[in-house]
C-alpha cells in the first residue's frame, strides 16, 4: 500500500483520527477539555512530541531490535516530553501547572507510542513527519472543538473572556465544566461523528 504525502496527512483528520477511530488519547481529551487555553497548550505539546518522536524513530528505524523496541519508543518520547514540559513551564508557567500530570504523561501517550510503532518505524522520515502532523491536527481539532463547546456552555467564556456578557457567564451550565460533562460531551460528539460517517 503506497500512500502519497497528501493522503498521509489527511487520513489523520478523519478516517484514522485516533480519537474517532480508535478512542485513543481519551485521557487528555476528557481531563483537559475544560477550557480552550488548556486544550490549546496540551494539543501543541502533543503535536510537538508526536512530531519529534516520529521523526526520531523513523531515523533510527534501522537499529530497532524486536526486544527493546517499545522501551526505546518510551525513552525517545520521554526525552521530548521533558523538553516540551520545560518549554511549557518556561513560557506559560501558570497554565502549564494547570495541566498537571497530563503533560508528563505524554511520554506514554497511546497516540505517540502507537504512531511510532505502527507507522514511523516502517516509513521514511518525511512521511513520518507528515503523519505526525496529520494525526496531531486531527487530535487538536477535536480537542479544541470540544473544549470550545465545554468552556462556552460550562463557564460561559471563550479563552477566558465572557464574550456573551456577564449574565450568561453567571448562569452557565457548570455541569459541562465538571468531569461528568467531559464524558457527556465526548459521548455526544463521538455519536454525532459516527452518525455523520454512516450517512457520508
Amino acid at each position: 500500500m503506497k500512500l502519497t504525502s497528501g493522503e498521509i496527512l489527511t487520513k489523520g483528520f478523519f478516517s484514522e483520527n485516533p480519537l474517532i477511530r480508535g478512542i485513543a488519547g481519551l485521557c487528555p481529551l476528557l481531563a483537559l477539555s475544560t477550557t480552550l487555553r488548556e486544550a490549546a497548550l496540551i494539543s501543541a505539546a502533543l503535536v510537538a512530541v508526536l512530531l519529534a518522536t516520529n521523526l526520531t524513530v523513523s531515523l533510527i528505524r534501522a537499529f530497532l531490535g524486536a526486544h527493546y523496541r517499545l522501551t526505546l519508543f518510551i525513552i525517545v518520547a520521554a526525552i521530548y516530553t521533558a523538553l516540551a514540559q520545560a518549554a511549557a513551564h518556561a513560557l506559560w508557567g501558570v497554565l502549564a501547572m494547570r495541566l498537571g500530570i497530563f503533560l508528563p504523561l505524554l511520554a506514554v501517550n497511546e497516540i505517540v507510542l502507537g504512531r511510532a510503532g505502527a507507522f514511523a518505524r516502517h516509513q521514511t522520515a518525511g512521511h513520518s513527519a507528515v503523519d505526525a502532523l496529520g494525526i496531531g491536527l486531527g487530535f487538536s481539532g477535536l480537542m479544541i472543538a470540544m473544549s470550545f463547546l465545554r468552556e462556552l456552555l460550562g463557564l460561559g467564556t471563550v479563552w477566558g473572556f465572557p464574550i456573551l456578557g456577564e449574565k450568561w457567564h453567571s448562569h452557565a451550565a457548570t455541569g459541562f465544566a465538571l468531569p461528568f460533562g467531559a464524558f457527556l460531551a465526548v459521548g455526544l460528539g463521538l455519536g454525532f461523528l459516527g452518525k455523520v460517517r454512516r450517512h457520508a
Binding site: 457548570t174 459541562f176 455526544l188
Partner: protein
Amino acid sequence: MRKKNWRSVAKAETEFPPLEMALPMRLKGVIVSSSPHELSGASLSSYHLSWGLALLPAVAGALFLWRLESFVLLVAGILTAILAEGLCCRIRGLPLRITNGHAALMGCLMALTLPSGAPPWLACAGAAFGILIGQEAFGGNGFYFLHPALAGRLFVYLSWPNYFHRTPIKADFPLTLPDIWHGIGLASVNDFLFRPGHLNGEASAALLVLGAVFLLGQGMKWRIPVGALLLVGLGTRLGDGSHVWFHGDIRQVLCMPSLYFLIVFLSTDPLTTPLAHGGQWVFGLSLGALVALLRGMGGDPEGLFVLPLAISLVTPLLDRLGDRRR
C-alpha cells in the same frame, strides 16, 4: 472473509437493519410496537394516566401552597419535555408518541423535584436534558437506563447549585389539628398532614401517601418502597440521637414528604428498576440503607436524589435475582 476496515463496516450497517428497527416505527404500512396486554387492557397510555392521577394530590397541594410559582414550573417542565420528545421522534422518523403521556409525566416529575420558587428556565433545562440525553440518546422510551426526570434533576442541580440552597418560599397550610390531638400525643399527625418540605412535590406527606396507595392498586413495584421503608426505619432506630436522622424518633422521619416522594414516585419507574422480585427487594433495601446513611451522616440532603440513579445502574444484575412474575 471480507477485510474488516471501516468502510465495509459502514456498508454492513446499511445492509442489515440498524438497531432502530426494533423501535416502534412505520415499515411499509406496518406499525411495529410493544405487544398489547389483551387480558388486563394495560397500555402505556393507561399506565401513565394512572401515574398522573397518583401525582394529582401532590400537584394540587403544591398549587395550593405555592400557587403561581409552582404552576409556572410545572407548565414549563411538561411543555419542554413534550416538545423535546416530539422533536426527537420527528428527527428519527418515528411516529409521534406524545399522546402516551410519558414525556408529560417525566416533565411533571422533574418540575416537582425542583425547589419551590426556582426560576422556570430551570425546569425547562432539566426536562430538556432528561428527555434529550437521559432518554432519547439511549433509544427513547423503553430503552433508557437512567430515570430521565432524575437525570435532568441531577444535571440541573450540578449546574446551578445555588438555586437549590436558597431559603425556600415560606408557605404553610392554614390548617392545624385542634389542640386536643396534641394533648394525647399525636403531634406528629399534624406534621404528617400539614408540614411541607422545600421541594415543589413535597406539599404534604399525607397527599403523597394518598397517591402511593392509589399506585399500589395499579400494580406498582411495592417491594421497593417497602424495603426502603424497612431500612430507613431501622437506621433511624439504631441512632444515638446525635445525627440528623439517626435520632431514634421514627415518627419524625415518617412525616417527611421527601421520604415518600423519593421511595415511591422516583424509585419505582418500571424501566430503571428490576423486574425480578428478589432484585426489587435488594433495590429497596439498599435504597433505604443509603437514604438512612446519607441523611444520618451525609452533609447534603440533595444527594438523596442521586441514590435511585446510582442503584438503577446495577438493575441488570438485580434482574437475575428471583422470580419475574407479577
